[in-house]
């Protein structure tokens, strides 16, 4: 049988070939994109394994793995900085406190504000919402000097409170939760009223569990956002014991720069690598929860 004798076969194989070309193109783009993202991290990781002398002489290293463990443990456990009062693990802890505190603060305040706006007959609820909403136009970077002044005046420099609270004060979470609450059917609220659930019970028993997906999504975004904060922590923490990772890497590198030794490139790179991990883990873990919630959700 020739191909010409069987037009159906020709047609299907052509469709199949066209499809596979498209698939290859798609994958090529995705692979290129992934490489673009991963290669710098990979290069950094490989370089951690080399000695500082080699790094400062030859730049990036890919073959020497002998100093890997040493550099990681130096990064985490050896004290550094100007005062020598900070280790990588303390900075890691500070970063976690900032990231988690910030994300939880956002979620708790955002949910409660949205709850009040959506479910209570407040006279100026809409007005209040728009006032809260305008804070989106005033991110911390814009109001950084007055905010610093306030935090300083309250004696909150070098405290976790001073680090977290000013960042929490913005409307993003309130906005998302408001939109979500508005999509919850009115009948559900009424059923709960008949079932004798007061405002607090309704919030805890019905609204919070229904918002799981939303909470997971906002947690991901906010944790990463908080973790990656640079400007505000730089301004508000002068005590090295309060440094977060993102802010502290530079500090460790700098302090050595001032000395006569070779800069501890390996240590700084190890620290940078460690700084990447938690946001990645949070995204991976919460993503699956988030997707599961999306698939299962029904209102």
């Amino acid at each position: 049988m020739t191909a010409a004798a069987d037009p159906v076969l020709v047609a299907t194989s052509r469709v199949r070939r066209k499809l596979s070309w498209q698939t290859i193109a798609d994958h090529a783009i995705l692979i290129a994109g992934s490489l673009l993202m991963i290669l710098p991290v990979f290069a950094a990781f490989m370089t951690i394994g080399a000695s500082d002398v080699d790094i400062s002489r030859h730049g990036m290293q890919f073959t020497d793995g002998s100093h890997l463990a040493e550099n990681f443990s130096k990064a985490l456990f050896i004290q550094g900085g100007f005062t020598g009062a900070i280790t990588g693990s303390t900075m890691l802890l500070n970063s976690f406190i900032l990231g988690i505190g910030f994300a939880i603060g956002k979620i708790v305040f955002g949910m409660m504000a949205a709850y009040a706006i959506v479910y209570f007959r407040l006279r100026f609820a809409t007005f209040a919402f728009w006032v809260i909403f305008t804070t989106l136009l005033l991110p911390l970077e814009v109001r950084i000097l007055p905010t610093y002044e306030v935090v300083h005046g309250m004696g909150l420099i070098n405290t976790y409170t001073g680090l977290i609270v000013p960042l929490v004060a913005s409307a993003t979470a309130t906005f998302f939760f408001r939109q979500f609450f508005l999509s919850i059917p009115e009948e559900l609220v009424e059923a709960a009223r008949i079932d004798g659930a007061g405002p607090v019970k309704f919030f805890i028993d019905i609204l919070v569990p229904l918002s799981r997906t939303m909470i997971a999504a906002i947690f991901i975004i906010m944790f990463v956002y908080g973790w990656n904060q640079y400007l505000w922590p730089t301004l508000i923490t002068t005590d090295e014991a309060m440094f977060t990772l993102v802010r502290g890497i530079k500090q460790i590198y700098q302090s050595i720069d001032g000395g006569s030794d070779i800069p501890e490139f390996g240590r700084a790179l190890a620290l940078a690598f460690i700084a990447i991990l938690p946001p990645v883990l949070v995204v991976v873990i919460f993503q699956s929860w988030f997707v599961k919630g999306l698939v299962e959700s029904d209102k």
């Binding site: 059917p185 009948e187 559900l188 009424e190 059923a191 709960a192 009223r193 008949i194 079932d195 004798g196 659930a197 019970k201 028993d205 019905i206 569990p209 229904l210 799981r212 299962e296 959700s297 029904d298 209102k299």
Partner: protein, 353 residues
């Protein structure tokens, strides 16, 4: 015994819409009341005022002898079944039913008892650990019923509970709900815009139109003795025939200059009327019959159990329902309007004479 009493209850929404005009009626213990009417006539508003979900603008509502105007829905001793079921999506069937009881501080064993009993009654036992999303529409509907039953309320309220189900299931659930209500003997108010549901389920039907009561009566009364042309054309499919006619108090109804028949009632009125007759009460008669009226048959609608003959009586349209055992009449067709089945309505006000 009067169980629920509405005294001049009215509702004006904050935006000024008067959804319910002052309305009064009593509901007896164990009675099944159906509120029926077209969309937007205020059925839900009235029901939600009884439930306490909507504030009563004016009037007084009492349930089981207690004025409940200012009492919270949870304290009114009512249970409500919603159109979209309103089940808690994150809770299992068991917890959906148990939630209200827990909030009342009922003991765990008693809750378990109540839920198990209700689940058995509704054939839900095997689904108790499922989430609502893992149930079919009919099963969800039953869970919503279960949630109402476990509360053992003084009053059941239903707001179009079957309108999300397909026709077959609706028919089945209709019977189940009615049987359940009979068995439990709980006073019920049921809102629907489906007149078949109203006819089949109600002990008494309340027909609402534009926020006002048009008629209160048993299904038979509402069907055969409609209080107004609105009720006549709302209840029944096809609706009651309404023929324009003239009545001048001399005992005859004039369908035209030459055609007149005996009036069903003597009314102190003369002028334009509408003469009402149900399609199944119109009979095909012999031309020789003294009250035979010439009917111009236009087309026949086959229903299986019967046939609808569409045509004209003089200038006005008439629908005749004949059993499927009767032959489709051919040639000149004559119909008779039996006196006992006729109702007369005031042409202007639409009220029955």
């Amino acid at each position: 015994m009067v169980h629920v009493a509405l005294k001049s209850i009215s509702k004006v929404y904050p935006n000024g819409v008067r959804a319910v005009h002052p309305t009064s009626f009593d509901i007896d213990e164990g009675e099944f009341i159906v509120l029926v009417g077209p969309s937007g006539c205020g059925k839900s508003t009235l029901l939600r005022m009884i439930a306490g979900l909507e504030e009563i603008t004016e009037g007084e509502l009492s349930i089981a002898g207690r004025v409940v105007n200012d009492i919270d829905p949870a304290q009114r001793d009512i249970a409500m079944v919603f159109q979209n079921y309103a089940l808690y999506p994150h809770m299992t069937v068991y917890n959906n039913m148990a939630y209200g009881l827990r909030n009342r501080g009922m003991a765990k064993a008693a809750i378990d008892d109540a839920v198990t009993t209700a689940a058995t009654m509704l054939n839900l036992t095997e689904f108790l650990s499922r989430r609502p999303s893992q149930l079919s529409g009919g099963q969800r509907q039953r869970v919503a019923m279960g949630r109402a039953i476990v509360r053992n309320p003084a009053l059941f309220l239903f707001d179009e509970p079957l309108s999300n189900l397909d026709a077959k299931l609706r028919g089945q659930m209709r019977i189940e709900i009615k049987a359940l209500q009979r068995r439990l003997g709980v006073t019920s108010v049921y809102v629907t815009h489906d007149q078949v549901e109203a006819m089949t389920m109600a002990d008494r039907i309340i027909v609402l139109n534009g926020g006002r009561i048009e008629q209160i009566g048993t299904p038979a009364e509402v069907y055969h003795q409609p209080a107004s042309t609105f009720v006549a054309s709302f209840m029944g499919a096809p609706p009651m025939n309404l023929l324009p006619a003239h009545y001048n108090g001399n005992g005859r109804v004039h369908l035209s200059e030459t055609v007149h028949i005996e009036a069903p009632v003597t009314a102190d009125y003369s002028g334009q009327i509408k003469l009402g007759v149900r399609p199944e009460n119109v009979g095909i008669v012999d031309p020789a019959h003294p009250d035979a009226l010439r009917f111009d048959l236009e087309f026949v609608e086959e229903l299986g159990a019967g046939r609808l003959l569409h045509g004209k009586l003089g200038d006005s349209g008439l629908i005749v329902h004949i059993p499927h055992t009767d032959p489709i009449p051919g040639g000149d067709v004559y119909v008779g309007l039996p006196k006992s089945a006729l109702v007369m309505f005031n042409h202007e006000t639409g009220m029955r004479l």
